[in-house]
Amino acid sequence: MTSTVDTGVPPTAAAEAPPPPRRRWRLHSQRTAPFLFIAPFMVAYLLFFFAPLVYALNISLYRQRLIGGDTFVGLENYARVFRDATFYTGLARITVYGLLYLAVMLVIALTAALLLDSGTVRFKRFFRLSMFLPYAVPSAVAALMWGYIYSRNFGPIADVARLAGFDAPNLLSSRAMIPSLVNIGVWTWVGYNMIIFYTALQAVPHEVNEAADVDGATRLQIAWHIKLPLIRPAIILSVFFSIIGALQLFNEPQVLSAIAPQVIDPAYTPNLYAYSLAFVNQDFPYSAAVSFVLGAAAFISSYVFMAVTQKRNQ
C-alpha cells in the first residue's frame, strides 16, 4: 500500500499527519490507489487515443477551402463518403484481398501448425523460427524487398524466367497486383498465425488423440475431426485480426505504388485514400470522414463475424 507514496504522487494530508489514524490512511488509499494505478494508462489513453479521435470527429464536420476558409457543414462529408465511387472501389478491392489472403494464409498456417504438432517434422525449431521470421521484418521493408523480387527487368523471378526461355511475367500488372499483395501479406503473417495455432494445439489433451488412435482414426481424420474443432477459438481470433488488418491495408500498396504507379493509384485502398485526401488534396475534413466510415466498416464486419461464430458455437 505504501506504493502510493513511492509512485511520486504528492502525499495526501492524511498521510502527512503523523499520529496513527492508520485505518483512515488505509481506507483512503484503498479508494484512491486503483485510480493512481490506472492513471498512467488513462492519461496516455485520453491524450493519444481519445483526444485525437474527438479532434478528428470535430474536423470531419467542417469544410476547409483555400478560398473561403472553414465552414461548418454537419454530416455532409459523411454523405459524400457514401456517394463516393472511389471509396467503394477501394473497399471492394480490399474485400477481394481480404478473402484471398484469409484462404491462403489459413490453409498454409494450419497445415504447418498441424505438421509441427504431429511430430513428423524434423528440425522442428528451425522450421518454426524460419516461418516466424518474416513477421519480424517491418512491412515497408518487406514491400521493398518483394518489389525487387517482382521486378520485371532485374528481379530474380525475371532472371529465372529468362533462363528458362520465357518472357518475364508482369507480377505488378493491374490483374496480378492483388495476388502479389496477398503473397506479401501471407509471407509476413503466416508464421505468426502458425504459432498461434500451434500453441492452441499444444493445449489439446493427449488423451483425446490417444482415444482416437485406439478407435482407428487416421492421422488426417484426427487432424480434421479432432484437432481443428478443438482449436476453433484460436482460428476465430486469427480471422478476426485478419479482417481488421486487411481493412487497414496501407504500407504494402504505398511502397509498391512507387514502382507500379500505373496500377496503384492514390485511392487503391481506403486507408491509402484517406492518407492522400489529407496530405495531397489538403482535404482533412473529408479524410477524417473517410477514416471514420472505414473504422465503422471494420467494427461492423468484426461484429458480424463474431456474432455468426458465436451463434454457431451455441
Binding site: N153, F154, P261, P266
Partner: protein
C-alpha cells in the same frame, strides 16, 4: 551609365553599401533597357557600390533601417550545406543570429507552415520553398512582398527564367535559389555502337528511339519523360504552352489544349510502338537501367548530372551532355524541372532584416557560391569560366555546366505554377502512368484535367 549612380545619406556601413549596390543594379538596368551583360558583371557591381559610397546625399534610395538590437532569425530549409553562408551573414551583421531548422522535406515543411498560419504564430522568419509550390502560400497571404524592401532591383542579376515564377501581380515573393533547366544526357559508347547521332530536334529523337530499339529490343533510347508530371509540364513549357493561369481567385488549367494535343501526337506513336521505356522514375530499377545501359539517354534537369554520377558509378566516363532536343532546328528552348526559392514570412517580427538575410544568402556572390549541389541562378556565376568550364571525369572530361548554363538562358519566364500544384502533380503522375501504359495520353490528360478542375472548385476557386 555611371552618371545614373544613386546617392545616399548617413554614415557608410556595410549594410547601406550593399543596399546602394542593389539600387545601382536597378538603375543600371533601367538605363541599359534590361541588358543583363553589364549588370551581371560582378566587378562593375562592386565598383558602383564603392563609388556610391563616395557620392552625395539624395533621397532616391529609401534604405530600410535595420535594427541594431540583438535578434534571432529562423530559417526553415531542408537543403544541406547552408552553414557557411549563414556564417558570412552573421559576420556582416553581428547583432543577428540565424537559426537553421530542418522542418522536414517539402510537403512536411509546408504542412507545418500551414499549421502555423492557422494558429497565427509559429512560422519561421524565412523559409525554403520549391518554386512550383510558392503560389499556394502567396494566395494564403503567408509571404512578404519583397518589393517593399526594394529587392525587385536585383532582377537583372538572375537568369530570366529563374525570376519568372516568383512574381505575382507585381509582387515579388522570393529570390531564386536554384533552378533545373533541362538538357540531354547520353551514353556515348552506346550511341557509337549503334551508329546513333545526338538528336538536335525531337524528330531526330524519335528516329533514334526507333532505330535503337529496332537494332536491340532490350534497350531503349530513353524513358518516356511524361511519366513524371513535372517533365510533362516542362515539355509544355518548352513549347511556350502555359499549363496554368492564375489571377487572384481565378485559375485556369490548359492540360488538354491544342499544344498538348500536338505533344500527345508526337509521343503516343512512340509509346504504341514500344520504343520508349515507360517504367516509373527514381526506382531501383530505373537507376539500374541508367547504370546498365538499358537506357541510352536521359532527358535530365541540371541536378541530373550530379545524381547520375552518384547512382551509376559503373558507367563513369561514358556519359556526355548535349542540349535538349528542339522542336525547330537551331532553337534553344528549355524548361525547368525543379527549382527553389527563399521567402520571407508575414509572421516574421523582423521582415526588413529577414529580407536582407534572403538577399544576402542569394544575391551576394560570396554566399551563393557555397551551395555546391545547386545549379546557380546568378548570371555572374553562370558566366564565370571557373564554374562553367570545369571538366567532369564522369562525363569524359566534358564541361557539363556549359551545356546546362546555355539551356538556362533558353527558359521562357512567363510560366506560372498553380496554387494547388501538389494535387496537380500527383494526379498527373497517376493518370499519365496509366496513359503511358495503355498508350492513351489524351484520355489520361482529360481525366487529370477533370479531377483537377473539380478539386480547384472544391477549394473555392473560380475555374475559367
Amino acid at each position: 551609365m555611371r552618371s545614373a549612380r544613386p546617392r545616399r545619406h548617413g554614415t557608410p556601413t556595410r549594410r547601406s553599401r550593399t543596399i546602394a549596390a542593389l539600387a545601382c543594379v536597378g538603375l543600371l538596368l533601367a538605363a541599359c533597357g534590361g541588358g543583363d551583360d553589364t549588370s551581371a558583371d560582378p566587378a562593375s557591381e562592386t565598383d558602383d557600390s564603392d563609388a556610391a559610397e563616395e557620392s552625395d546625399a539624395s533621397d532616391e534610395v529609401a534604405a530600410p533601417e535595420l535594427t541594431t538590437e540583438e535578434i534571432t532569425l529562423t530559417w526553415w530549409t531542408w537543403g544541406p550545406d547552408n552553414e557557411a553562408s549563414v556564417a558570412l551573414f552573421e559576420e556582416a551583421y553581428p547583432n543577428i543570429t540565424v537559426e537553421i531548422v530542418n522542418a522536414g522535406q517539402g510537403t512536411e515543411q509546408y504542412e507545418r507552415i500551414r499549421t502555423a498560419l492557422t494558429a497565427g504564430s509559429g512560422a519561421p522568419d524565412i523559409a525554403h520553398f520549391a518554386t512550383a509550390n510558392l503560389a499556394e502560400f502567396v494566395l494564403r497571404d503567408a509571404l512578404v512582398d519583397l518589393t517593399e524592401f526594394g529587392l525587385d532591383a536585383v532582377e537583372g542579376d538572375y537568369a530570366p527564367g529563374a525570376w519568372g515564377a516568383l512574381t505575382f501581380e507585381d509582387g515579388l515573393y522570393g529570390l531564386p535559389w536554384d533552378t533545373g533547366p533541362l538538357a540531354f544526357l547520353y551514353r556515348e559508347d552506346i550511341f557509337e555502337e549503334y551508329g546513333l547521332e545526338v538528336p538536335e530536334t525531337w524528330d531526330d529523337f524519335a528516329e533514334a528511339a526507333r532505330d535503337l530499339n529496332a537494332q536491340n529490343p532490350d534497350i531503349f533510347l530513353a524513358q518516356f519523360p511524361g511519366v513524371i508530371a513535372e517533365m510533362w509540364l516542362a515539355l509544355n513549357w518548352q513549347l511556350g504552352n502555359n499549363s496554368f493561369s492564375v489571377e487572384g481567385d481565378t485559375v485556369g488549367f490548359n492540360l488538354t489544349n491544342d499544344v498538348a494535343q500536338d505533344l500527345v501526337d508526337f509521343w503516343e506513336p512512340l509509346l504504341e510502338e514500344g520504343v520508349l521505356a515507360t517504367d516509373p522514375a527514381f526506382t531501383t530499377e530505373w537507376f539500374s537501367s541508367l547504370a546498365s545501359g538499358r537506357y541510352a539517354a536521359w532527358i535530365a534537369p541540371s541536378w541530373g548530372p550530379g545524381l547520375l554520377q552518384g547512382a551509376a558509378e559503373d558507367s563513369a566516363g561514358l556519359w556526355r551532355a548535349a542540349p535538349l532536343p528542339q522542336w525547330e532546328a537551331g532553337a534553344n528552348a528549355s524548361a525547368y524541372w525543379g527549382g527553389s526559392t527563399i521567402s520571407v514570412l508575414q509572421q516574421s517580427e523582423h521582415p526588413a532584416e529577414a529580407a536582407e538575410l534572403v538577399r544576402f544568402l542569394l544575391n551576394e556572390e560570396e554566399s551563393a557560391r557555397n551551395y555546391n549541389f545547386l545549379f546557380p541562378t546568378l548570371t555572374s556565376i553562370l558566366e564565370d569560366p571557373e564554374w562553367r568550364d570545369q571538366p567532369y571525369e564522369f562525363y569524359g572530361g566534358q564541361a557539363v555546366n556549359q551545356i546546362f548554363a546555355e539551356m538556362e538562358l533558353g527558359v521562357d519566364n512567363s510560366w506560372q505554377w498553380s496554387p494547388i500544384q501538389g494535387f496537380v502533380d500527383v494526379t498527373l503522375n497517376t493518370e499519365l502512368a496509366q496513359g503511358a501504359d495503355q498508350a492513351d495520353l489524351m484520355g489520361a490528360l482529360e481525366r487529370a484535367q477533370n479531377q483537377i478542375v473539380q478539386h480547384a472548385e472544391d477549394q473555392g476557386f473560380t475555374v475559367e
